[in-house]
Amino acid sequence: MEMSVMDNAKPDDTSFLSDEEQEKYSGPSMRCVLFELNSEIYGINVKKIREVLRVGTIRRVEGANPNVLGVINVRGVIVTVVDTRQSYSIQPKIVDDLSRIIIVELDSENIVGMMVDCVLEVKDIPEKQFEPMSSTKEGASRYLQAIAHFQGNVIILIDVDNMFDA
């Protein structure tokens, strides 16, 4: 995907909105993959995402961090899968048909899988809508980049680079 397309992409169909709302949604936007964790909606910049996989066999690795579910084989590359719920201190949930692993690119060499409840859609979110996080919780907040109020939903934007820095 071309960078320019993404950066200047207009929000989804806005024709039904009032002029006032049109104004609110104009300007540059960020294309995000939206997914659900414990009924909350989260977003990750689409540029950081390589692919979304159905959950197959995850090989447990004894001795790994508690928030690591194990490793999977992505076309010959061993990829760590993180329990995203655990990372955000949400109680665990059994993997079901909707569960997905989002493969995130940290840099050109390192990729990591994030287990999420379900993947919703790809949306262009106007940058105007983002407001920086003012979380009271220390630690967890450094993963969370911003929140956006968009079309009646609250979307929590995740900063994947910070999330896997450690």
């Binding site: 690795v61 790994a64 690591v68 010959g76 590359v77 061993i78 450690a166």
Partner: protein, 660 residues
């Protein structure tokens, strides 16, 4: 200085210097080999050419002189004796240092040591020959005629090249092509820089073949177009125009570009440069990885084919795929291979310098230099080998007088050999020195408190020799800067173990010592023993596995809280891997479990596992993000059925169990 061109130059020059290192070493053995002399001459010449293009004056100065010396040597005017070798080797060192400095980002190089330059000058002007002091080697190369029908731009055959060389060599009394010395200048004396510059510009003025277009700044960087234009102009001259004469300012030597102007007489006869491509090893790893996946897909197809014999056509196609994949896998493996010569090449130097320093007479013999092994291994083996060879020279071989007194020839021999043994490489370092006394080693071990007298006296000779690989064990009475600090062998052992290799020491008092190192051919593929708990499989490096037997509770004892198993009158500690790998494992019935005896260094342990699934060659892959630091794993691999097996790192496993 154009950074990009500089970087390309550095890559090329480093390679040339590496070759030169080996060639100079070879030359010590055959100082009159004309092919070798020509190759060395060309090497210095090409480095000089690049340096000239980039204007790295100190580097030019040294290369220029070295090149001249070799021109003399190959013409038989100067003999390559020890004294000459010393000068050339230090010149070579200076050149490598310059390249290192350039690589490190330095752009202003200091001038070379004038003493060295003078020494080189004396060497190449040693015998008075009426020649122009600037002598960019005989400047009358334009007298060389090509045989009829030879395309001056085409590649040369070896014969043509030789013919040209000899043609040139026949004309030692060169007409200095219009270059005249200023009055009062001693043609044999050293030149001042000014004189040199003056001569250069004089020559440049004469360089009638190549002219710059009006308005072109001769000192400025060239555009590609200008460069191309010059190339054409140069090629238009019927005879080999630039030949050896080095156009320092006007016609820069192409370093990166295709090399049509590269003086033909000096170029390798065949266009070697164009038949090779530099590839990042990371990319090779990627290809390796994909080939691995392809092999898995093929294996699955093979199983499918087995169940459906009716479709003959399909069976044939799958069979073809099978062959092609196997070949592909082998080819990719081969691209990672390099001759062990790359490591061996540095040893003649090491031995020469060291024996000189120690006042010993030592001959180094290299065997099996053409043996191929994995690139990573070649690099990883360099340091341990240097250490072992230094040890042999320092501790192994005696002083000449001592040798004579013992009835041996004054000259000691150190043999460095490599050979392939199945899927392993055997490297051996053998000397005919004084050997090791196992009794001295036993005594030393007691003195150091490593064991009591009783235990020491029970060690067989071989185990006594292995003591020297223990940390902090040194028998050298005087610590020299060469060896004897008692860290060396320990480090060597650790490095070899890390490469999944083994090390073995043989020695006979008075006759000499031999150290054998066995390493796998490649680091990428690891022969393993697959074991499992339930469905979770683990791979244990096969090199460490000594034997496997059924777990038998009646053969075990609990000693000081540690379970031990008796095996042929010896007790070996048992590590129940399930304690760590399968915490909820059922211990009530261990009757079908197996014990795998592994050796890690001089330690042995019995790993208790639920199931042994057999041998498998695996491709080692790193564990993903956040997992690389976990102790006990060397990586992961994908097994034949597509599932993931974790590869155990035995030293790490032992560590882990010590803390459990």
């Amino acid at each position: 200085m154009d950074e990009e061109i500089l970087q390309d130059f550095l890559v090329e020059a480093s390679e040339l210097v590496e070759n030169l290192d080996g060639q100079l070493a070879d030359l010590a053995n055959s100082p009159t080999d004309s092919d070798l002399l020509n190759a060395i001459f060309r090497g210095f010449h090409t480095v000089k050419g690049g340096a000239g293009f980039l204007g790295v004056t100190p580097l030019i100065e040294v290369c220029h002189r070295a090149e001249n010396v070799f021109d003399k040597i190959r013409n038989g005017d100067v003999e390559y004796d020890d004294a000459a070798a010393d000068i050339i080797v230090s010149a070579f060192d200076v050149i490598s240092d310059y390249l290192e400095a350039l690589k490190a980002g330095e752009r202003e190089l200091e001038d070379a040591d004038p003493a060295l330059l003078t020494a080189l000058d004396i060497l190449w002007k040693g015998k008075p020959v009426a020649e122009d002091p600037v002598v960019e080697t005989p400047a009358s190369d334009s007298d060389l005629q090509l045989a009829e029908g030879v395309d001056p731009d085409g590649d040369m055959t070896d014969e043509e090249f030789e013919a040209l060389l000899s043609q040139r060599d026949e004309e030692p009394e060169v007409a200095p092509s219009g270059l005249a010395l200023a009055d009062g200048v001693d043609p044999d004396g050293d030149m001042t820089d000014d004189e040199f510059e003056a001569l250069l510009s004089q020559r440049d003025g004469e360089d009638d073949g190549l002219s710059l277009d009006v308005g072109v700044d001769p000192e400025g960087d060239m555009t590609d177009a200008e460069f191309e234009a010059l190339l054409k102009e140069g090629d238009g001259e019927a005879d080999i125009e630039p030949a050896v004469a080095e156009p320092i300012k006007v016609a820069p030597k192409p370093v990166v570009k295709p090399k049509p102007t590269e003086s033909k007489a000096d170029n390798k006869p065949k266009a070697m440069a164009e038949s090779t491509v530099r590839v990042d090893t990371k990319r090779l790893d990627e290809i390796m990885n994909l080939v691995g996946e392809l092999v898995l897909v093929r294996n699955r197809l093979l199983t499918l084919r087995g169940s459906d014999t009716e479709q003959e056509e399909l069976a044939n196609v799958v069979g073809n795929l099978d062959h092609v994949t196997t070949d592909l896998q082998n080819s990719v493996m081969k691209t990672r291979m390099q001759p062990v010569k790359k490591v061996f090449g540095r040893f003649p130097r090491v031995v020469r310098d060291l024996s000189k320093k120690l006042g010993k007479e030592i001959e180094l013999q290299l065997e099996g230099e053409e043996t191929d092994l994995d690139k990573n291994l070649v690099e990883a083996l360099a340091d341990p080998l240097v250490h072992l060879v230094r040890n042999s020279v320092d501790h192994g071989v005696e002083m000449p007088d001592e040798r004579e007194a013992a009835g041996k020839p004054r000259k000691g021999i150190v043999v460095l050999a490599a050979q392939q043994e199945g899927d392993h490489i055997l490297l051996s370092i053998t000397d005919d020195g004084k050997g090791m006394d196992p009794n001295v080693l036993r005594q030393k071990a007691v003195e150091k408190g490593m064991m009591d007298e009783m235990a020491a006296s029970q060690l067989d000779d071989k185990s006594a020799f292995e003591l020297i690989m223990g940390a902090g064990f040194s028998t050298a009475e005087v610590v020299s800067d060469i060896s004897g600090r008692g860290v060396g062998m320990d480090v060597v052992k650790t490095m070899i173990t890390k490469l999944n290799g083994s090390i073995e020491i043989n020695s006979e008092l008075g006759k000499g010592s031999q150290i054998n190192i066995r390493v796998p051919l490649t680091l990428a593929i690891l022969p393993t023993l697959m074991v499992s708990f339930g469905i979770d499989s683990y791979a244990i490096p096969l090199t460490s596995v000594q034997e496997i037997f059924d777990y038998d509770a009646s053969q075990t004892n609990k000693i000081d809280g540690q379970m031990m198993v008796r095996l042929r009158e010896k007790s070996i500690p048992l590590l129940f891997l399930s304690d760590w790998l399968a915490p909820d494992h059922d211990y009530s019935d261990l009757s079908d479990h197996k014990v795998i005896i592994v050796a890690i260094g001089n330690q042995r342990a019995g790993l208790v596992v639920q199931q042994v699934n057999g041998q498998e060659e695996v491709v080692i892959k790193p564990l993903g993000v956040m997992m690389t630091h976990i102790e006990g794993y060397a990586g992961a691999t994908i097994t034949g059925n597509g599932s993931i097996a974790l590869i155990l790192d035995l030293p790490g496993v032992i560590q882990r169990f010590q803390y459990l």
